[in-house]
Structure formats: structure tokens, C-alpha cells
Assembly symmetry: C2
Homo-oligomer: 270 residues x 2
């Protein structure tokens, strides 16, 4: 998917919501557990209920790998089910040497037809460039929203920049705003403006709104650019809004609520 | 597996060889391709031929994920087949927020009974500590052997330390030499002595001997400690030594050659 196609979907839906499919057998409604593939049944219902309001879906691979080969099959079914015009993110946080990263690209871009993959930058250029393909995206971890993000990402270098800033600047030597995005945590809403100045045109994938405690209005005020430039992820707050038989309906309502807030923010800032 | 158990295997075999099971359908002998599970058949033959000389096996997950659910099944069969006294490493280079890392731990330590997993440190403490369990190991990327390792790992901080040094020191606040190891590339043989001084008691997993061009004698001279402290990985140089029907026999001979060199080095330095 190109940046123009993504932006046109955002304009059509008046939304920059990404729904995180962190689907966990211990959290999905009990009545699904008797199905052949409960994970897929849950995802299918969530997708049906939210696809008018979501411009992206992001399964986190850990939830599927924890179930072994069966989880991998549920994931493949899920990806095939997502409408082609919606952006898909393999939240895999991979990162390896060049020939190995090329195999991960094969896994996520060929075995499964994801539009993008999240990648850890620690191993440098040859862990990132093998993912660069026409119409595909690499989403580089920059400043994450978890407690441990301060341990290394905030280390200040001799040049006066913190590690996440080095990552954002250096990776732009190898990538462009048409094939790369950055993960920027919403719990750092106060910083999103300064991060935006390092990558004015790029999309940021923003986790942490909802369960991790970010603030959509603040993030949007400082993060939106003229092509939107934000994909704001919500996982648990949407998909586990209800644990009853009405889980999909309630997820749809919650996604609509977020979309309505986003519509106002787009009208205000774009 | 405890550190004492690992060391006792090393003494018994007079070897610190780790065989990398980077098994690729395009590189294995053609006569295996007609089998039901060619990847497993290849691994089984390699394990049978090398298990007297290898103290560890390290499948790189990318090779299996590139084949989808079927690859995952081949990996599970392979892990079940490896003799229990041999150390197993899931070369997965995972790293995510705490609750997600806990699921990766479930995938690799419960779904599959790996002894250890490689982890990228970028996301900090909560991406590492969920892997700490009795008898299990987390192997933290420190100074890798690929070209891109210089991009971020060598950034010098205000304290005068490079990022990989910060990683080695900081992670020791959360882990010990009994549950953590570090990935240190053999192409940095000149540096292994100084890295050893930062983590005197830890095991280092050293890739890059063989296809990536490290030097076993140099690595061992500077890296061995009183409990050995090294697992030196060789993948392609062993498993693809021959592409004919004699592939397993030739892999066994090559593993024996490496073991014989290691035996001399252990006699010299331990």
C-alpha cells in the first residue's frame, strides 16, 4: 500500500485508528472456545465490527506464536480475512543480520501478505533494509511506550542526542517517508512535537492510547502532519471492551467513539 | 539447564561448539525434497551426525517462519528430537513490552522446550526480565557481527561507554551469569577481551566463526573463562559442508574438526 492510498483511506473514514489484534485465549469470550479456531472467530467478528472505523489492523505476533503452529494458522486466516484496502501491520519487532531479515521479509510479505512489519533497530542497517520493497513498509521502533524504554532509548550520546533520536535520524539515510514509519509511544505525548521535527513527513505508529494510558488529543495536536502522519493503536480497550456475547458490538461502538474523536481532531488540525 | 550442567557437558565433550540450524529449502540436498518434512529430515541427520561434538543447537527462527505453519511444525519436531542434555537456543531476537514478552517466553519455553532465547535489548528491562525462569536463559544481543552493528551499538554515550557496553552493564542489574548470556560477534575478536572484562563470568554466544569470518583461536584466547564461558556458533560451514547425499557425514567431520581445535584451546587456556 502506498502512502497516498493510506491517506486516502484515512480521509474516507475520517479515522487514523489502528486496532491491535492481541488476541488471547484467556481473554476472549468463553462461548468462542468451543469453535474450531477460536482466535480466528474472535478476530473475524472484531474485524467485521470495526472495519468501517479502522484504517489498520495490527496483530502482535507473540499472541499467535504462544499457540505454536495452530496460532500461525489463525494468524494467516486473519490476514486473509482483512479487507485489502486496510493497512496491516505484523507487530513482530524483528531484527537480524541481512540474509536472515530477508527471510523474515519473506515470512511476513510473501507467506502472509502483510503491508508492514515492526522492526527493532539495534542491529543497524542490514536489519532494516531487507524489508524495503515496493508497497511494503518497515516500522522502526524509536521511542516506545513501555517502562523499560528509558533504559537504552534515552541514553544521551556525545553528540547530545538520545539514542531514539539517533535511530530516527540515521534510519532516514536508508529509508523514506514512503517506506518507513516510526513507533512513538503515546505515553510520551509531550515529546511527540519534538520527535515530529526529526521526521516531519513520516507516519508514526502510536501505541499506548488506552490500556497504556496515553492521550489521543495531545498526541494528535503535536503529531498530526499534512498527510495525517499518525496511526494510533488501541488494542485491549477496544477488543476486550466486553467479555460477553456482545463483544463484537461493543468493540464496534468503542472503535466508533475513537473514530468520532479522531474526526474532530482531523477537522481541527489538518 | 543450569550453568554447571552446561559446563559439565562442555568438559565431557571437550567442545563449546554450537551448531546453527539455519535450514533453508533452497540449500539442503535435493534428494530430501521429496520427503514429507524435508526440513526436519535434514535437521535430524545433522543432529545425529554432530551431537557427539556439539554442546548446543541454535535454530534461527526466520528460516522456519519463512515456511509458515509448516515451518513451525518442523521446528517443534526438531526441538523434540535434540537430546535433552544438549543446550538449545531459539535464535529469535525477540523484544517487546512486558506482557508480550511473557507470551514469547510461553512460546519458546512451554510450547517448545527451548533452554534459551536470544533477545534484542532496545526496549529495556521489561523486554528481558519476563524470560527469566529457573533453568532457562536469556541471551541478550550486545555486540553483533553484522555490518550494521556499528550503526547504533558503537554510539558513544556521554559516560564514554558505547551502547553495547551500556547494554552489558545495565542488564547485569536485572540478570546474573546463571540466567543470562551475551551475543558477541567473532568478527570483533580483538574486542572480546575488553568485553570479557565487563562480564567476567557470563557465557558469550559467539556467531560469525566460519561463514562470517571470525577466528576461533583469537576468540578463545580472549574470551574463555574458568567455566569456559563461550558457545561458538557455526552454521553454514558445518550444515552445508556438502550438498550431496553425504551431507550429514561431512557435517559430522567438520564438527569433529572444530571440536578438535576447541579441545586444544580448552587444554591451553582452561
Amino acid at each position: 500500500m502506498t502512502r497516498a492510498e493510506l491517506f486516502s483511506q484515512i480521509k474516507a473514514k475520517q479515522s487514523y485508528l489502528c486496532v491491535g489484534l492481541d488476541t488471547d485465549l484467556t481473554k476472549i469470550p468463553k462461548h468462542l472456545l468451543s469453535k474450531d479456531d477460536p482466535i480466528f472467530e474472535f478476530n473475524k467478528a472484531i474485524i467485521d465490527a470495526t472495519k468501517e472505523y479502522a484504517v489498520a489492523y495490527k496483530p502482535n505476533l507473540a499472541f499467535y506464536e504462544a499457540l505454536g503452529a495452530k496460532g500461525w494458522e489463525s494468524l494467516q486466516r486473519t490476514i486473509q480475512y482483512i479487507p485489502k484496502e486496510i493497512f496491516t501491520i505484523a507487530d513482530a519487532k524483528r531484527g537480524d543480520i541481512g540474509n536472515t531479515s530477508a527471510l523474515y521479509a519473506k515470512a511476513f510479505f510473501e507467506q502472509m501478505d502483510f503491508d508492514s512489519i515492526t522492526v527493532a533497530p539495534y542491529m543497524g542497517q542490514d536489519s532494516i533494509t531487507p524489508f524495503l520493497r515496493d508497497g511494503k513498509w518497515v516500522i522502526v521502533l524509536a521511542h516506545t511506550s513501555n517502562a523499560g524504554s528509558a533504559d537504552f532509548q534515552l541514553i544521551e550520546s556525545k553528540s547530545g542526542r538520545q539514542l531514539y533520536e539517533e535511530v530516527i535520524l540515521k534510519t532516514q539515510e536508508w529509508t523514506t517517508a514512503d517506506n518507513a514509519m516510526y513507533v512513538v509511544g503515546a505515553t510520551r505525548a509531550d515529546k511527540i512535537g519534538s520527535i515530529r521535527s526529526l521526521a516531519p513527513d513520516h507516519f508514526f505508529l502510536v501505541p499506548g492510547v488506552g490500556a497504556q494510558g496515553g492521550d489521543l488529543a495531545e498526541v494528535s495536536k503535536h503529531g498530526l502532519n499534512k498527510y495525517c502522519g499518525l496511526l494510533v493503536n488501541s488494542s485491549r480497550a477496544i477488543i476486550y471492551k466486553s467479555s460477553g456475547e456482545d463483544f463484537a458490538e461493543m468493540a464496534g461502538k468503542e472503535a466508533l467513539n475513537v473514530r468520532n474523536e479522531m474526526k474532530i481532531l482531523l477537522d481541527t488540525y489538518l
